[in-house]
């Protein structure tokens, strides 16, 4: 009896499998040692190891004795949780329960940065289409720029399930790398004088509870009337927020923010890893998608900062936006707001940009979901 019969996994191991196991270990290292999105990168990394051991029972295999397919648990999870979009939508309920919209009520004009900083999505989609991807694939790659993992997963699972693995890894990795990606782009686009601009706003304004309860309901109705196909994304986000704000479901709100978010993220991560098999992941496409994801994040930042500078042309001295705030229009919350606040403090220790940065960042969370909804609506018309 040869080694092939005794240890068929060793016999079936190729260099591609070893590379994927190495990538899995790298993701686990980044999650543990660097604290890069550990709730997601750790399960994805472990899952990548799980699915790249030849004949892994975690994946569907053909039984050589009977010739029948034996369902693997990760394939079952994929069909049940991602192909149906249940996992990402449950995450939206959790995210909705975590978001406090009161900073937006204090500085509503900053909501517009949440639109400008989605620029990278569409520019990346254009670039991907030039590189030969079809419209659905290009849109799925572009949505990495939403800086919002669940939105990326919903769009990619619907339009390009074959690219789901690299798109998810890119989306979550770059979200963790916002402190490295954004500062050099911002410094390149702004002068020191601009970075020193102080922003005063209604940071201590009290917001009525009724308004905070009405907001998710009204937004859902309005978004549903304008773009019904965006409702699964926006509706679940707003439902989670209503649970938070209503005041009578506090235990449920805390469960959504903690247990639901943790459990679904765990399942989401390890299930995404089922798409990271060597034959699907080790391709030139993966490298291109990773590069395009970085491009998307850079041009999101560009869009937000340039939009702030544009608005400043029309604003009086003393009432100008600090253009760095524009960069917070991406969805990576609260990482981006924290980065901008720290950059502001570095230039001037008495410049407190945290509150306006948080407001723009909350706007970015809405903007990314709206962008996902718009892409889900528009692409089928043109594809």
């Amino acid at each position: 009896m040869g080694i092939e019969q005794l240890l068929p996994a060793i016999a079936g191991m190729t260099w591609q499998h070893l590379v994927m196991i190495g990538i899995g270990l790298l993701l686990i290292y980044l999650a543990i040692a660097r604290n890069y999105e550990p709730t997601l990168l750790l399960p994805i990394g472990f899952g990548a190891i799980l699915v790249n051991i030849p004949l892994s029972s975690a994946l569907t295999q053909i039984d050589p004795a009977t010739g029948e397919a034996v369902e693997g648990i990760l394939n079952i999870f994929f069909q049940a949780g991602i192909a149906t979009e249940i996992f990402p939508l449950l995450i939206f309920i959790a995210i909705g329960a975590m978001i406090d919209f009161s900073p937006l009520f204090r500085n509503p004009s900053l909501l517009l940065f949440g639109a400008a900083a989605q620029f990278g999505i569409f520019l990346t989609m254009l670039l991907a289409s030039l590189l030969g991807y079809d419209l659905r694939e290009a849109a799925s790659i572009g949505i990495i720029g939403a800086a919002d993992g669940p939105t990326s997963i919903v769009v990619a699972s619907r339009f390009a399930p074959n690219l789901l693995g690299p798109i998810s890894v890119a989306a979550y990795s770059y979200m963790a790398l916002v402190p490295i990606i954004q500062p050099p782009v911002i410094r390149l686009l702004t002068s020191r004088k601009e970075r020193l601009i102080r922003m005063t706003g209604n940071n201590n304004k009290q917001i009525s509870k009724k308004a905070l309860i009405a907001f998710p309901i009204v937004v859902t109705i309005v978004a549903g009337i304008i773009a019904p196909s965006s409702l699964s994304l926006i509706g679940f986000l707003m439902f989670g927020n209503l649970v938070r704000e209503c005041g009578v479901l506090n235990k449920l709100s805390l469960s959504a923010q903690n247990e639901l978010a943790s459990l679904v993220t765990l399942l989401l991560g390890i299930t995404i890893a089922s798409t990271m098999t060597a034959e699907r992941f080790i391709r030139v496409d993966t490298l291109i998608i990773i590069a395009l994801g970085l491009f998307a994040f850079v041009f999101d930042t560009f869009g937000g900062v340039i939009f702030a500078k544009f608005l400043n042309l029309f604003r009086k001295e003393g009432n100008k936006f600090n253009p760095m705030i524009g960069a917070c229009g991406i969805s990576a919350f609260p990482m981006s707001a924290r980065v901008i606040h720290q950059m502001g403090q570095k230039e001037d220790p008495f410049n407190y940009l945290l509150m306006p940065a948080i407001s723009a960042n909350v706007g970015g969370q809405i903007g990314s979901v709206v962008a996902g909804g718009i892409i889900l609506t528009l692409v089928p018309f043109f594809a």
Partner: protein, 60 residues
């Protein structure tokens, strides 16, 4: 350079960016409207409420 896919992507990009700004502008107006229709009012602390109305035990 201008492949049919790129042309469609360009159109989606233009409509998409305009659409996001439109949505956000609507949400901006919604916030202003909600803030005006439902302004913050100082709520009475619970203790004051009970002092004024009395509790069931006191009534009995």
């Amino acid at each position: 350079m201008m492949t049919p896919i790129f042309e469609k992507a360009l159109l989606i990009a233009a409509i998409g960016m305009a659409g996001i700004f439109l949505f956000m502008a609507i949400f901006y107006l919604l916030i202003l409207a909600l803030d005006r229709l439902m302004p913050f009012r100082e709520e009475k602390p619970a203790e004051d409420f009970f002092e004024e109305t009395g509790t069931e035990d006191e009534d009995n």
